[in-house]
Symmetry: C2
Subunit: 246 residues, 2 copies
C-alpha cells in the first residue's frame, strides 16, 4: 500500500461544495468516482484538509488516499487529470509516509477573499468576487483587521450550531491588498478555521468598511462569543482556499 | 421615438452565441425579452455591430434599438441591468440620431484572443483562454503577424460557405502581448472581420508558434484565397469582442 498526498485546484462554481452528498455534484464525489474507475471498481476514500462550501474555490486544496496500485507519480497525475472534469485539476502528487493525515496534520491554512469594489459590475468576475458597488473605508477595515490577530475564541465568527467544542483559533495574518482592476484581496492565514469563519470575518470587515461598525467594535464582538453579534456571512463565490501548509 | 446606442458586456460561456435562435439561450434573446417586458409586451428588435459565436465573450459589444418610451438614460441602464441575467451587463447608454446604425456605421473593431501558454491547466481560465500546454515561438508568430497587416482578400481566413461576397478587409494592428500568469493576448484591430476570421488567424499563428508553419507561409496562404490552406479555427472561448468604434 502507498499513501499519496495530492494538491488539487477547483472552480467551485458548479459544485454543491467539496464534501460528497448523494445526487449532488461535489468535488469529493467527482474525484472518488475517477479513483474508483482507476481501481477497476474498488471504492477509494479520499481525506481532505477540510471542506469548502458550495461556490467556494480552491487554488490549492490537499487530500490523501491509500492505494495498492503501483503507478509512478507523474502517471497518477496524468491519469487523474485525463479523467477528471475540466473544473478540477490535480496540481501535484507526492508519496507520503503512512502516518500523514491531510486534516489532522495541517499547520497553517491560507484563504483569500476577493472583493470587486466598483459601481460597475463585471460579468467575468461574478463567480469569483463579491461585488461591492460602493466605496469602502480601507483604513477602517485595516484597523479592524488587527483585532482578529492572535489567539481568540472565535465563537462569534462561527456558524451557529457547529458541533466543534473548542473554538479557539489563531490568526497569523489578515491583510487587505488593493489590486488592479478595482479588486481588493483579503488574505487570511491561520492555524485553522471554524465553519464559515473567514466569510463571517469578511462580512464584519465589510460592515466596518461601509461605516456600519467602528473598528473598535470588533474586539467587543469577539468578546461576546455569540454569532448573533457579528455581521452577515459574506457570499461564497468570493472565497478561495489558497494554501494548506503541513 | 428615440434611438438608443447601448454598450454591453457578456460572458459568452453559457450562451448559444449572440444571435437569437428558437429554444436556445442567446444574448440577443435575453436582451429582447427584457425590452419586451419594459415595453409591456411589445416586441423590440435590437441591431448589434455583429454576431459572436457560442462561447465567445464581449468586453464591449454595441447594439441599437428605437423606443417610444421616454426614460432618462441612467434609468434605462438601471432598468435593463436589474432585469438582465448576471452574465450580461449594460455598460453605457447613449442617445443617437435616427441615422445611426450599429452594424453599418462600424469604423473599427478590436478583438482579443487569450492564450494560456503553460504545461499546467488553470481551471479558473478554462472558459476564457485557449490552453496551449507547450512552448510557442513568439518571434516567429510576430513575424507571421506582419503578413496580415493592411488590406487583403481574406477568403482563406473565412469559414467556407460564408455568403459574403466581398472578402477584402483591412487589419490595422495585430500584436501579441505576453501578460502575467503565462497569458498571451493576441490583439487584432481591423476595419471589420469575416465569419470566424479572428479565430482562423489565431489558429494559423498557433501553427507558426508550434513550428508547423513558417512565418513566410502566411503570405502564401492569404494569396491562395482558399480556406483549406489556413489552419484550424482556434476554439471560441479564447475570443473576446473588445471594442467597436464608430
Amino acid at each position: 500500500m502507498v499513501k499519496l498526498k495530492c494538491t488539487v485546484t477547483y472552480d467551485g462554481t458548479n459544485f454543491s461544495g467539496y464534501q460528497i452528498q448523494p445526487n449532488k455534484r461535489t468535488v469529493q464525489g467527482e474525484i472518488e468516482a475517477v479513483l474508483k474507475k482507476i481501481h477497476k471498481g474498488s471504492e477509494v476514500k479520499i481525506v481532505a484538509s477540510g471542506r469548502t462550501d458550495a461556490g467556494v474555490h480552491a487554488h490549492e486544496q490537499v487530500f490523501h488516499y491509500t492505494t495498492n496500485l503501483t503507478i509512478p507519480l507523474a502517471n497518477w497525475k496524468k491519469a487523474l487529470n485525463s479523467l477528471l472534469p475540466d473544473d478540477i485539476y490535480i496540481r501535484k502528487m507526492e508519496e507520503v509516509t503512512e502516518d500523514f493525515h491531510a486534516r489532522y496534520h495541517v499547520k497553517k491554512k491560507e484563504y483569500r477573499y476577493r472583493l470587486l469594489v466598483n459601481t460597475e459590475k463585471d460579468v467575468f468576475r461574478r463567480n469569483y468576487t463579491c461585488h461591492i458597488p460602493m466605496a469602502l473605508n480601507k483604513e477602517a477595515m485595516e484597523e479592524a483587521a488587527k483585532a482578529f490577530l492572535g489567539e481568540h475564541d472565535f465563537t462569534s465568527f462561527c456558524a451557529a450550531n457547529t458541533p466543534v467544542v473548542n473554538k479557539v483559533r489563531t490568526i497569523h495574518k489578515l491583510s487587505i491588498i488593493e489590486d488592479s482592476n478595482h479588486e481588493w484581496v483579503i488574505q487570511v492565514i491561520g492555524s485553522g478555521f471554524l465553519y464559515q469563519m473567514v466569510r463571517i470575518i469578511v462580512g464584519t470587515l465589510l460592515d466596518v468598511g461601509k461605516g456600519k461598525l467602528a473598528p473598535k467594535d470588533v474586539a467587543d464582538i469577539i468578546e461576546k462569543k455569540d454569532r448573533s453579534y457579528a455581521s452577515q456571512t459574506a457570499p461564497a463565490q468570493g472565497l478561495t482556499m489558497w494554501k494548506v501548509t503541513y
